[in-house]
Symmetry: C2
Subunit: 429 residues, 2 copies
């Protein structure tokens, strides 16, 4: 490859209806094209403070310790686990899909003693199972995924914080896939830590991890944190072996950078900060409740549509996330061939799957900017055509008809969501 062969970025048009990333809201992309300012410029620190406040609103928390971790959603997960868990600490991880296994893997690498509760993919974990394990294990931390895209399940968290606290444990949830599309109440549900990403219901690109910590979590971290050499000598110095094992993910240092002390740590990823701020600003302007309802409406329309095409839904539908549905690949149909035709002929991406579900289901998302009726109907229309061409006799028009019937049944809601979806939400000045 020579330079003359390498052209400007010009990605093909895609409608991304998989488990994420999804198409970014164009307003988020525009926010990223803003020119940079210095990292301690008054305008920059004001943007950081505004972003923290917006994420408090999105996460439904009053936690002062609300920041971005500069990395993908997984960076937020690792920052929380490595900051809270010292080697030998006990952590309880109820697991119902791939992203629960990721929590296990990261906690193991932190040197923690991990106990899991495993349920079959397609189910969630009953609170009494968690309570029994709390009694037995006495963990320092319970770490759990809220919505796991690998199975589409949404774990109930209401009441879990109280349960953990009664047993002396902190509660952390990875809300990457669920936040903004499903009800979430950080403070009311008693969470001590939550981390997210932008590339699901928030309608942004991957690369920034909104992260919030309760005062109790901050206390644990402060006891383990230290100040970087040369920044404030002698202060809060911790012997090397007792330090948090990562510098980049030391949330104590990141809080010192975001907080009033403004101690230099990394150089904040300004363009991703702008993106994260715009994601939250649009969500707050729409109203968190309205956004959740929009995801519910469009997610249900998609589920009704694929069912009407004669496809079977996977997993406990009572506990499905609003923003994604898993669909069994019919016997005799080549799942990857269907996905390839949907992508190549129609420019629409639907998802494959991992682990025990690999080759068994497709995963179809309706999230963030793409939680819109036109995106749902276009996907159903294309899927019907491809299924027919691949040998599966989907009843003509049934998917689109079912989804439209669903929207029409709900005139009050369809009026709001159907005419314009997120793009019509009131634009703040």
């Amino acid at each position: 490859m020579t330079s003359s062969e390498t052209s400007q970025i010009a990605p093909p048009h895609r409608l991304l209806m998989g488990p994420g990333p999804i198409n970014a809201d164009p307003r988020v992309l525009r926010a990223m094209s803003a020119q940079l300012v210095g990292q301690f410029d008054p305008s920059m620190t004001a943007y950081m403070a505004e972003t923290a406040e917006l994420y408090r609103q999105v996460l439904r928390t009053t936690n002062e310790a609300t920041v971005l971790v500069d990395g993908t959603a997984r960076a937020g997960v690792e920052a929380v686990l490595v900051s809270l868990l010292a080697p030998g600490d006990r952590v309880l991880i109820p697991t119902f899909g791939r992203f629960g296994s990721l929590l296990v893997e990261i906690a193991e690498r932190c040197g923690a003693e991990v106990t899991t509760i495993d349920v079959a993919w397609g189910q969630v974990v009953a609170l009494d199972l968690i309570e029994a394990a709390l009694r037995e294990v006495h963990p320092k931390l319970v770490a759990i995924v809220h919505g796991d895209t690998s199975t589409t399940m949404l774990q109930p968290l209401d009441g879990l914080g109280e349960l953990c606290h009664a047993h002396g444990a902190l509660l952390y949830a990875d809300v990457t896939a669920s936040l903004g599309g499903n009800p979430f109440e950080m403070d009311a549900w008693g969470l001590d830590a939550a981390t997210a990403g932008l590339q699901k219901c928030l309608g942004g690109p991957s690369g920034s991890a909104p992260t919030s910590l309760s005062p109790a979590a901050v206390e644990v971290i402060a006891a383990r944190s230290s100040v970087e050499a040369g920044l404030a000598d002698g202060e809060r110095s911790t012997p090397p072996e007792a330090r948090i094992r990562s510098n980049y993910f030391d949330l104590g240092m990141i809080l010192d950078y975001w907080g009033p002390r403004r101690l230099n740590h990394h150089t904040e990823a300004t363009s991703m900060l702008f993106a994260a701020r715009e994601c939250a600003r649009l969500l707050v302007a729409e109203g968190i409740g309205a956004a959740v309802e929009r995801h519910r409406l469009n997610g249900t329309a998609m589920a009704d549509g694929v069912a009407a095409l004669g496809l079977e839904l996977f997993g406990d539908q009572e506990h499905r996330m609003h923003n994604i549905v898993a669909v069994r690949i019919p016997d005799g149909i080549d799942g990857d061939a269907v996905r390839a035709q949907v992508l190549e002929r129609f420019g629409i991406e639907i998802g494959t799957s991992f682990g025990p579900l690999h080759g068994q289901v497709w995963r179809i998302g309706t999230m963030g900017y793409n939680a819109r009726p036109d995106a749902v109907l276009t996907t159903l229309a294309a899927l019907e055509q491809v299924l027919r061409r691949c040998g599966f006799e989907a009843p003509a028009g049934a998917g689109v008809d079912a989804a439209i019937a669903h929207y029409d049944d709900r005139d009050d809601l369809a009026g709001r969501a159907g005419r314009a979806g997120p793009a019509r939400s009131q634009e703040a000045p």
Copy 2:
């Protein structure tokens, strides 16, 4: 704050002439506004492959293992150190500024046994000192900063790889601040690992860390790496206690994601990938040698200009980076007040400093998109005005005159760099 109070991103105009971040090239900002594609879309994997190839050209290497780490420059540093260094491994870190201390701090958190060679800020480390320490310490790795913005020094690396290899050590350099503005030859100088960032001479935003590994470094990492649970069961499984201590920074996993196996790891930060690709594309189109010469020319003009204003330069000028100069704050002048006036009156940012130099010097950068004569002359003109208003009698016009004389002395080069700078470089289709 309510949603109606939170407005669109609209940062004030700033000319960023500090140690970085600097203004991003507008073409890089535009690249980030491209819509997203799926993470395994053929266009996405092609962009990843092109980006890797472009960074091979920028880093002057044939290393297949050339990727982006999704985080700021510091994320790249930590990824290399935690992937190469197992607890108890010996690492030798020659240190001549703050970012050397950062290598020490991160290596300590990896559990490594750290030996440092410390020289006074403003100097570089003589190769014979490093050789003597290699004989004594027998480290697995030598980790060193190439250009340290805290002191403006550029550490000579030519010959160091050979020296390290003769003593059985790998060589890693953090080239964040130097790459693109100063000569760098990854393969010819025998480096086994190099990491960078976008926000210095590459003219992009912070948030992506180009990283390259020699085959010898890959071999060390492969022996420690593992495959995430659920992705390829049983394969290359490593007992938890022997695994790389981080999942996010496990370069073995990141190589499996970027490489032909395309094993899912994080969700690539697509917009930052687009930015990183555009930074490298523009640099390759300009020509690496031409870009280095542009930084030399404009950096020298700035240094000549501030000296002509009656200010004293800090540090060994024979070993100064092209892209930054440190200037002693004159006796009786309030350094922060000067910086504040330059920012508030003229919208120009110059840098403060850390550690032993705090309050002693300003740091003025000429890098990336801002390595342009108009940026140099504007900064000198504003600085002269502010110095005079703050009570320092800078000779009227002397700074700008000296810089212009420098440009005019070099008709051949000034013709190229003076008329348009980077914006005039040939645009590939």
